[in-house]
Each structure stands twice: as C-alpha cells, then as structure tokens.
Symmetry: C2
Subunit: 186 residues, 2 copies
DNA sequence: CGACTCATGTAACTTGTTACATGATTTG
DNA sequence: CAAATCATGTAACAAGTTACATGAGTCG
C-alpha cells in the first residue's frame, strides 16, 4: 500500500525502471523505506494493472532491455488522495523490548550485551546520518526546497537513533544495578 | 518468528490459552508488540507442531472449552537460544517520511495537518504511558525485578514518542517557513 | 434486547523475505 | 579470472490483516 505510493512519488519526479527505483532504496529512499528489487517489480506490475503507471520497453544492445515506467494522471490522483488522507500510527513491534521481557526469567547478562551492541550500531548510524545532515546544511546556502525536505527526513532518523541510544544506555545501567543486588544478596 | 518467542516467554511465566495470550496484547504486551487473536491461534498450532508447547483441553460447562498451553523443555531451549542470539535492526518503514517526500511536488499544507495530528496523538499516548510510568515508580518501593523491567519497557515507548513529537514540531515549523517564502515571492 | 465477554477457529488476501535463474559487460 | 554492475524476473514461503462463523452467558 505505502510502497506503491512511494513508487508513485518517485515516478512523479521522473520516469524510471524497476531497477532504478530498487536502487534508490539503497540511497535516498532508504532513509525511511526499504524494499527488495523483487518486491518493486511485483508492485510495478500491480500499479500497471491498476492503470496508475504505463511503461515502454527501451531496447539496449549488449545489455538487457529496460522497462521505463511513467506515472499516469490516475496515478497522480491516487498519490494526491493518499497524501491528503490521515495517517494512522503503525503497529509497534520491538524485538529488543521482547527480549527484555525474558530478563524476568533468565540472567540479564545477554541483554546487557545486546544493549552494548545496540549502542555501538546506533552510534555508527548516527555518525553517518549526522554526516549527511552536515553536508546537507552546507549545500543548502539558498533555500532549495528539496534539500530542506531531505534534511527533515534525516532529522527523523537522527532523533529516532538518539532515542534508541538513550534507551540502551538506561537499560544497561539499570540491568547492572539489578544484577548487583542479586550478587549482594547472595 | 519473534511473535513465537513472545508467546513462549508468556508461557514461561504461566500456562495460558490462546485467548489469554491474545488479550495480553491489549495490555502489557501491547507496550512493544501487537498481534490479532487469529495470528496467535495460528502460531500456537505451529509451536505445537514444533513440539515447543503442549496443551490440554479444559472443558467448561456453559462456556466454550479452553485449550490451555504449556511450554516444553524444547520450548525453553528455543527461547533461550533466541534470547542470546544477536538482534539485527529491523527495516525502517515510516509512512510520515514517505508523505513528506510528496511535499516536493505538492503544497505542504496537508503535511502540516498530519504533523498537528501526530503531535496530538503522540502527546495523548505520552500522557498515558507517563501515567503508567508514574504508577510503576510508586508501586516499586522495594526492588521488584518485574516492575523494574516493566518500567524499562515503558521508557522505550516514552523516549520514542518524545522523539516523534519533537520531529513533528520541527517539521511543522520548517514547512510554515517554506510556505512563507513562497508567499513572499509571489 | 442489544452489546459485550468468553473462546475457538477458517479462509482469502496482502505484504515482505529468501532462494534461484539468466546472461552480457565492466572492473580490480 | 573472479566479482560486481546492469536488468529482468519466478516461486515458495512467512508474517500479518480482514472478513466471516458459531454460540452461550452476562450486563446495562
């Protein structure tokens, strides 16, 4: 549902092949959505069935043919309708909290390891995205709308990572304290 | 995969029917995971096929029979194995960021409305979860392990909601600024 | 007397993952 | 000479949603 609209948004900016779109999920789109190439191809077929996109085959010598997709007027309408419709919170599914619950019946030691790994990984990602943000701010000397929107997307990721790191630190400290009580009692 | 282990964790604490477990997703489990009753029943069948749980039918007069599930030793092993295994970051999928991208080709006005709604909803949830946290802290006069773990789960939700609210505020302010530039130019 | 709770499920569908397949061209 | 890039897909599976079905008991 949402992936379909992400694809329509990409096609609103310029025509593209399934391959091009799939690649974008490793770049800019990857800030907020992920999808494998298989899924992209499947969704493009569905979008075509719904008359929201058309395509033309572009033959290539020495390379596979490309199917270049374009958005239709119906596609543009569908995109606008989705854009204006209220957004509901998606279901929470958090594996680390699920594992935290296991600390009630097992030693919390593995959980402390998970928290260390979470800090390390999230800090690595945070550095990366803050690097992109820094870069974005520098490039945006004028008032480029696209750059400013890109920055807001980066802000989302950054704020989320900071919250994850803070949580991991809190949990690690608290679990250490919990274990020290057990050791003191024994 | 994860739902299966959440169910095993519940059954580690006490035996329960599918109905009981499904109901827990509206209570404590709902802090970090969601699942419909249909899905819970289906997963219980799979867990039974894998010999990770057993069940006994408890007949009831005037009420439907209950299938009461218990975890097996194999189930306990499987749970411990999952608990100790490193956790990978789950794929990012954020509908609001996806809609933000549409602001590049449409008026940002609907997005500002989405941000207002997001603030309102997240603030409502934040109040609710902070109420639970307050309650938890008050009850935890001793050093109850379960209560302290519950509090950590609440911290996850709270930190995440605070990040969401901060982002929504930043986006709303920035989009207003973006629009004022357009109006000033015209 | 209508709605909610208790308690189980089936079935169709959607969304996403993983493994496999093909085959030419470019790069280290 | 192996690996990556370009470019398309099929097929099986896993996970989650939505709609439907049944039927007694309780509460306002």
């Amino acid at each position: 549902m949402i992936l379909r609209h992400v694809i329509l948004t990409v096609l609103s900016e310029s025509d593209a092949s399934g391959y091009d779109i799939a690649k974008e999920f490793s770049n800019g789109l990857g800030y907020f959505w992920s999808a494998s190439h298989q899924l992209v191809y499947r969704e493009l077929i569905k979008l075509h069935d719904m008359n929201l996109v058309t395509f033309e085959v572009e033959p290539h010598k020495h390379k596979p043919d490309r199917k270049v997709y374009s958005i239709t007027d119906m596609g543009r309408e569908a995109l606008l309708e989705w854009f204006q419709k209220p957004t509901s919170h998606s279901a929470i599914r958090d594996e680390l909290s699920a594992k935290l619950m296991v600390c009630d019946i097992h030693s919390s030691e593995p959980m402390q390891q998970h928290m260390k790994a979470e800090c390390k990984e999230s800090n690595g990602l945070l550095d990366f995205y803050q690097g992109l943000e820094h870069n974005n701010v520098i490039r945006n000397l004028g008032f480029d709308r696209q750059l400013r929107l890109e920055r807001l997307m980066l802000r989302r990721v950054i704020l989320n990572l900071q919250a994850r790191i803070k949580w991991a630190e809190e949990v690690e400290a608290e679990l250490k304290d919990l274990d020290s009580l057990i050791n003191a009692a024994s």
